[in-house]
């Protein structure tokens, strides 16, 4: 006499389906990067490149020079504080480095909180603006900023400095 396995089959199928309906173990991708929060922190200067933008435009040789080891740039530290996602104060500690940012302390702000491009450092008497080259991320905690030097009469871009900081 043949016995039926149908109940067992249904139970097994139900178990498989129930198990398959469990939440995936992948973590949430989360919210978009909070770039201002990523900018906050203590940053130590690691690399300095000087570019002759005028020579670059003309296609001349001698367009870039790595200045990193020519002066003690690696002494320079930039500290950016934030209140949550809002920029607040900054301070610079040059050590023996050339003062790539002349301001000692003040407030910093960005042109666009979601996707900042220009970082403004302001003290009571002076302001410095630098362009962000790349946002730091958790994987690559590197802050890249560029300082442009333009002819004061024609506003033509003559030279630029690229600074690469690593997070402390």
């Amino acid at each position: 006499m043949k016995t039926s396995n149908k109940p067992g089959f249904f139970i097994a199928t139900a178990m498989v389906l129930l198990y398959a309906c469990q939440p995936e173990q992948y973590k949430s991708v989360g919210l978009p990067n909070d770039n201002v929060s990523m900018l906050a922190g203590t940053w130590k200067l690691n690399k300095v490149i000087q570019t002759d933008e005028d020579s670059k435009r003309k296609g001349f040789p001698y367009q870039q020079l790595d200045l990193t080891t020519l002066f003690p740039y690696r002494d320079f530290v930039l500290k950016l504080d934030a209140n949550g996602s809002a920029p607040s104060t900054f301070s610079t500690t040059p050590g023996n480095s050339p003062r790539i940012i002349r301001l000692a302390s003040g407030n910093w702000l960005v042109d666009d909180p979601a996707y900042p491009k220009v970082l403004t450092l302001a003290s009571a008497t002076d302001t410095a603006r630098v362009t962000l080259g790349a946002y730091p991320t958790g994987i690559t905690p590197v802050l890249k900023i560029t300082r442009e030097r333009r002819d004061s009469a024609s506003n033509r871009l003559i030279m630029s400095y690229s600074y690469e900081f690593t997070k402390q």
Binding site: Q50, S55, K58, F60, S152, I158, M159
Partner: protein, 256 residues
């Protein structure tokens, strides 16, 4: 020699006598840029004249042409008329390639004088004023970047492959001497001597930051610098003797 150093010397507007009365806006310009020159004719026969006309010529050392406004010495055209810019001061706007009908590669420098329409009075020649090159000219003494301000990192370079004297060709460069001049022409502080580094087979370099290492007197500003490279050669007795390269002078530009 002047051709070899033209890249560096093009930045020097004050290396020749008489340039103090002439300014340019922008201060550095190529043959393709529109530039406005302003000249002060105080102390010349053109002082006190009610109107002024320009007479221009290119490539002072040879291969030059008259400006298209040089039609007749005794009857300058309206296109040569200068604009008043103050007491005894006159301005004129032009573009080198248009003015001289020459290519940027052909145009090295230019000169001019200021005259009465009928040619009865004239200023001395003001010359030469170099065009910023559009074609790279290798130079024995070179500055990186080619245009620098007082706060920038300045790297001076010596390319021995382009040396023009036996001592420059023989010497082993060990240092560079930098002297800063202020806007009155006075030397600022004492010249700086810095060690060189070899960056290519025949090229030595030295770097400095003008404003960090030189402080001008009150009310003055750093205007230009001179540099040369120093090294040693062996004399006939086998002893080391110190020699120096020729000197180049570079005008600071104003950057923001």
């Amino acid at each position: 020699m002047k051709q070899i150093c033209s890249l560096v010397l093009c930045l020097v507007a004050f290396a020749f006598a008489g340039h103090a009365q002439v300014t340019f806006s922008p201060p550095v310009f190529t043959a393709e840029d529109e530039v406005t020159l302003t000249v002060d004719v105080t102390g010349t026969p053109m002082a006190g004249q009610p109107e002024a006309y320009i007479w221009m010529f290119s490539n002072v050392s040879g291969g030059g042409k008259d400006g298209f406004t040089n039609t007749s010495w005794t009857n300058s055209p309206a296109t040569a008329k200068m604009t008043p810019a103050g007491t005894n001061k006159w301005s004129f706007k032009f573009t080198g390639t248009t003015m001289f009908s020459q290519t940027p590669a052909e145009l090295k420098d230019f000169g001019f004088l200021v005259k009465a329409k009928d040619g009865s009075k004239q200023s001395p020649d003001y010359k030469p004023f170099a065009f910023d090159p559009l074609i790279f000219a290798p130079a024995k003494l070179r500055v990186f970047p080619a245009k620098v301000d007082r706060d920038d990192v300045v790297t001076v370079n010596f390319d021995q492959a382009l040396a023009t004297t036996v001592e420059e060709q023989r010497m082993a460069p060990v240092s560079a001497t930098i002297a800063l001049l202020d806007n009155t022409g006075a030397e600022v502080g004492t010249p700086l001597t810095i060690a060189t580094r070899k960056i290519e087979n025949t090229v030595w370099a030295a770097s400095f930051i003008p404003s960090a290492q030189f402080t001008p007197g009150a009310g003055r500003r750093l205007a230009r610098f001179k540099f040369k490279f120093n090294g040693t050669v062996r004399d006939t007795n086998g002893a080391n003797t110190t020699v120096s390269s020729s000197e180049a002078q570079v005008e600071f530009v104003t950057l923001k």
